[in-house]
């Protein structure tokens, strides 16, 4: 406000590998480093780290049911995360995953409950489309605000997320979707809207198939189409992209809308495939976690699948670890935070890898234009 006028000349763009372009070796290094520090914290708090990690691994992978549950915990992160990664590639810091996931849950549940006489072949796609449409709207709004009114997307998506979570509470706490005034949950969706199980006896539905399909589709879009190229260029250097004729404003709207649709789909799949109803606390912070997942994946759609699996493993294995050793699952938050920290600060990892050339310099953040 007070230093207007003399707008400083743009910094000459230093072309360096960005943090999200460093190699996967650095990611693995960051994860290992975080585990080492986490082990230290565990040991310092008087827990045997080996017992804790063994419990975590057997909880996450010991047997079909455990494995399926790990995948169930990962699936929403995969679907929402692929969308978030798409916006990150465009240089948009989109924290709206939570809003889109939540509204997707709500829309899918509404369609699943309200239309009980459809054939599954129509009901399931209709409910998922409703979820995607609702999510797309909550992506479109911050997209338009950013593209045409210069509204910072960090703030608008965050505010929308908070508001949407309250909207979900409103619907369930004696609101229009609550089944009775005593229970903060909705009626179950019709059987015709339930996604069939992939593994009987578990909660793993056919929704899982969507995750790799979407990762392939988004990756094709980003790396094999002109629009995708423009989008990535915009993320790298919006000024240069504008000069090169990239339509920055419409692409911003497009990226946010598509990402919103994917976030909504994540919610829809969760309701149709797993929860089968809305209940208070149904959000589970999946939308916010997906933001972190996309960061960890360095914005790569395939990386999102792997990062989601890691988070699913920690979530599912964490409960087992707590049950066996009494360790607070908060330690897993610490490890997750450290992983992201070491991924961002990958000079530490580069140094540990023996100062190998290349990965050390991190510049030109995805969010270089975060506040402009």
């Amino acid at each position: 406000m007070s230093v207007d006028g003399a707008s400083a000349p743009a910094q000459a763009a230093v072309v360096r590998p960005a943090w999200h372009e460093a190699g996967w070796v650095h990611t693995v290094g960051a994860i290992l480093l975080a585990l080492v520090v986490g082990t230290g914290v565990l040991a310092a708090s008087g827990t045997n780290p080996l017992t804790a990690y063994a419990a975590l691994l057997s909880g996450a992978f010991g047997g079909t049911y455990a494995l399926a549950t790990t995948l169930v915990d990962s699936l929403p992160l995969m679907l929402v995360g692929v969308g978030v990664a798409l916006t990150f590639q465009a240089g948009l810091v989109n924290i709206g995953g939570e809003a889109q996931y939540v509204i997707g849950c709500i829309a899918a549940a509404a369609v699943g409950i309200a239309l009980p006489h459809l054939a599954p072949a129509a009901h399931i796609p209709l409910a998922l489309l409703a979820a995607m449409g609702a999510g797309a709207v909550l992506g479109l709004v911050p997209g338009v605000l950013k593209a045409y009114l210069n509204v910072n997307e960090v703030v608008s998506t965050l505010m929308l997320s908070y508001a949407t979570v309250y909207f979900g509470h409103y619907l369930l706490e004696q609101g229009p979707m609550s089944v009775s005034i005593y229970e903060n949950q909705s009626a179950p969706i019709a059987q015709t809207a339930v996604l069939p199980l992939l593994l009987p006896g578990t909660q793993l539905s056919w929704g899982l198939v969507l995750a790799p399909v979407l990762a392939v589709a988004v990756s094709f879009f980003l790396y094999r189409t002109t629009t995708g190229f423009g989008l990535r260029m915009m993320g790298h250097n919006p000024r240069a992209a504008r000069y090169a004729g990239v339509a920055v404003a419409p692409l911003t709207v497009l990226a946010m809308t598509v990402s919103g649709a994917l976030g909504g789909l994540g919610g829809g799949v969760q309701i149709l495939g797993n929860y089968h109803a809305l209940f208070d606390g149904f959000t589970d912070n999946y939308g916010f976690t997906a933001f972190v997942v996309a960061l960890m994946a360095r914005n790569n759609p395939y990386g999102v699948l792997l990062a989601s699996l890691l988070f699913g493993t920690l979530a599912n294995g964490g409960s087992a670890m707590q049950a066996t050793t009494g360790v607070s699952p908060a330690i897993l938050d610490v490890i997750e935070g450290l992983i992201i920290f070491f991924i961002a600060a990958d000079r530490i990892v580069a140094w540990m890898l023996g100062r190998r050339r290349g990965g050390g310099a991190t510049a030109q953040p995805a969010a270089a234009e975060v506040a402009s």
Binding site: Y170, S328, D333, I340, P365, A366
Partner: protein, 313 residues
Amino acid sequence: MGFFANPVLWASTLTLTVPIALAAIGATFSERGGVVNIAMEGLMEVGALIAVVVAAATRDAWLGAAAGTAAGALAAVLLGWASLHLRADQIVTGMAVNVLFTGLTSAGGLTGFLLVALYGQNGTPVTTPQLPLWRIPGLDAVPFLGQVLSGQIAVFYIFLALLVAAQFALFRTRWGLRLRSVGENPHAADSLGVGVIGLKWQGVLISGALSGLAGAYLSIGTLNLYNTGMVAGRGFIALAAVIVGGWNPAGAALVSLVFGFLTAATYQLQTASALPKNLVLMIPYLVTIVVLAAFARRVRAPAADGVVYEPRA
């Protein structure tokens, strides 16, 4: 209108404004120096926890507040070190700091871990002292104004002084000019002999300290306990206040005040009106978006905000 004439509404507006405004004012220093700080949420959480720990151990709320402030600055060292020396992406680092300290689940990250490690499942000691309320002599007797402005938590008055000092330091001193030049064009500042990295560090540490104080205000000001996740998004709202307020302490405080008012008004509405509670609770967030849409074209971020500084060899 009886609603607006109620001094309780305005007194609670101020009470709710302080934690957001403190963190937001701090962040204007960090961002004016070119370091984006989205880690206020985590830093406030650290300040809130440590304030209770120290206040409970020493039986002195002021020592608790000082410790919370120091802890916020100390936690911000992570952000400063990564962004200024390891040249890490500031958004990613900031989010990492949030996840590290507050977590993604109700478990609460490192603060939740420490809470359980220190106090078990029983929560912080019930005997934890609380920061005093200050009655302003003279003002106390004035009707309405006295009820609103006097008797606030002591930190409120410190906040007023800090606000004036922050505005002055940033825009009326040589130091402030240098800090701002670093956030606008660090290479130009460097060529004029300004110590870029040192100034950026000062911005980050001020932001950490004020976030820590804001956390202490929540835990031993408004209450005398710490709960995981008690910051409840205020750090992110402070980020919004910085941006909508035009990277300016007074602007940030004004936006925080608007948010504080909306929140206080929703509390009153919840008890007074037939509107469902959760719909009322949506209002501050939606209004923030509308306000942002109305004013965003007029504010401009420091040109090099969020840009990694690579010194020229």
